[in-house]
Assembly symmetry: C2
DNA sequence: TAGCTTTATTTATCAGTATAAATATAATTA
DNA sequence: TAATTATATTTATACTGATAAATAAAGCTA
């Protein structure tokens, strides 16, 4: 979509206008409003920095702060060079989880609370994708379980354990990727991300870790079978038990939520 | 907590250092890391703009972009004047919901999908706060139901309907405020916010709207009774039915999610 | 002491310059 | 001609200095 001049400069004209709040914030909001009104979509380009400065009659620095705001919100990407400038992008899962982690940074969240959420989210998701999985999805899931098994031959070192958890969790990511409900899928992915990257384990219970891994493999295998039969009831039962089981293992391994949620 | 000099300027020194990404982003990350390492908390003050410029040996504009980033992320508030400058704040629910709405802006979310989420979140939340509600919480809930009744005398105009929805939803906000799980509480509040501010109704079915309102009042009243008895089973049943009922009413009123999610 | 005024401090905005990075285009080479 | 290299152009990024606005604290007035 072509750029067709931003509408009347609602955020004030001339320097030091009377509007409320910071100029850069008002400009950022005006640009958002303009994007919505013109039904722009990801991939569409905004006017470049210089043009925006002309349109809004503001200083370069002010405009840069406005653009930085949109960038941090995950709404635009900025590139240099010819045909560069600010481009609208779909706010990514990644960016959104980063911002949501900021929220959790200053609050205490326990492993129990993560699983309280996960027990309802993963079960609902698992049940809801029944009938929506194309053959290649089943393949992917089966493949995933296979990787876990292959890796479990060597299980004596720390990084292997980490790798196993990675694999276990990607089973759930695959399921989430076939969930048509963005709210549900996002929550599921956010929770698996927390477990993947922000749980500090004590690695002094290797045997328990092995049990954990084996238990996961069993559940995933059974889930694949149930998905092949599209047996919704069975899937609900299995995923509920699976989450319960994961929670217990994580707790007995003394998993705690990291204090570095803010850092990517 | 006092400011005690930021650590070695890891984001590079001198102009145009070789680090990856933008200088302002690296600085923002360094400040985050420093906050975590020094276990700063909401209320603590960061060095002011000029001091930060000295510490990071960067230009004022660059530092302002870094601070804007932190501000947009909801991590700091900036005030002018003496004893002003950037102050750490708890990332607020409000800010987080704004950022999450950006995420949904470019995806299609249906009323059914909102309720798919709400049916599991509100039920889990309702059940989990049993036994955690102090007497004043019950009072608040009862009060809330009372307001709905009072308002339902005059129900002929649009804004009254909006006001009723407002009241109905604040019943759920009260419940959420007593939920110790930030993940659960946040999700619940986010969903009620969507319903409160971002559902466009067609107001051509006044009678259905009345039925909706009355139905809500009934459910809320019954829920209060159940909370007084701390009857968890009853609460689960009631809330499940309540959400199901809400969904049906919303659907028959042709509620659709607004296209203006990005705007506050 | 209550209310008002001044002053000092700090961010917010403006203006302009210089540098780096990315890309398109032209020139060169094989 | 195809591929590579050099050049020019476009754009963001970064730096500097000056002015305006906001606010807290100190001082003044009644």
């Amino acid at each position: 979509m072509e750029f067709c001049s931003l509408p009347t400069n609602t955020s004030g004209m001339g320097q030091y206008d009377q509007g409320v709040g910071k100029r850069s914030d008002r400009i950022a909001n005006d640009i958002k409003r303009w994007v919505i009104e013109n039904e722009l979509a990801a991939g569409d380009k905004l006017p470049n920095e210089k043009q925006l400065v002309d349109i809004f009659q503001c200083a370069k620095g002010t405009m840069r702060e406005a653009l930085k705001s949109l960038e941090v919100q995950g709404l635009i990407a900025i590139r240099t060079g010819p045909s560069g400038g600010p481009t609208l992008i779909e706010v990514s899962y990644k960016r959104t989880t980063e911002l949501l982690r900021n929220f959790l940074q200053f609050r205490d969240v326990s492993v129990e609370q993560i699983y309280q959420m996960r027990k309802i989210v993963e079960v609902e998701l698992a049940v809801s994708v029944v009938g929506l999985l194309p053959p290649e999805a089943i393949d992917k899931l089966e493949n995933q379980v296979g990787k876990c098994c292959a890796n479990s031959i060597d299980r004596s070192r720390r990084h292997v354990h980490l790798n196993l958890r990675e694999n276990e969790l990607s089973f759930h990511d695959i399921l989430a990727s076939y969930c048509p409900n963005p709210l549900l899928a996002f929550n599921a992915q956010f929770l698996t991300e927390l477990l993947r990257n922000f749980i500090d384990f004590r690695f002094d219970h290797i045997s328990q870790y092995e049990t954990f891994t084996q238990s996961n493999i069993d559940f995933h295998r059974k889930l694949v079978v149930a998905y092949k039969k599209e047996d919704q009831k069975k899937i609900r039962k299995l995923m509920t038990a699976h989450m319960e089981d994961c929670e217990q293992h994580t707790l007995s391994l003394n998993g705690t939520l990291s204090k570095n949620l803010m850092l990517s």
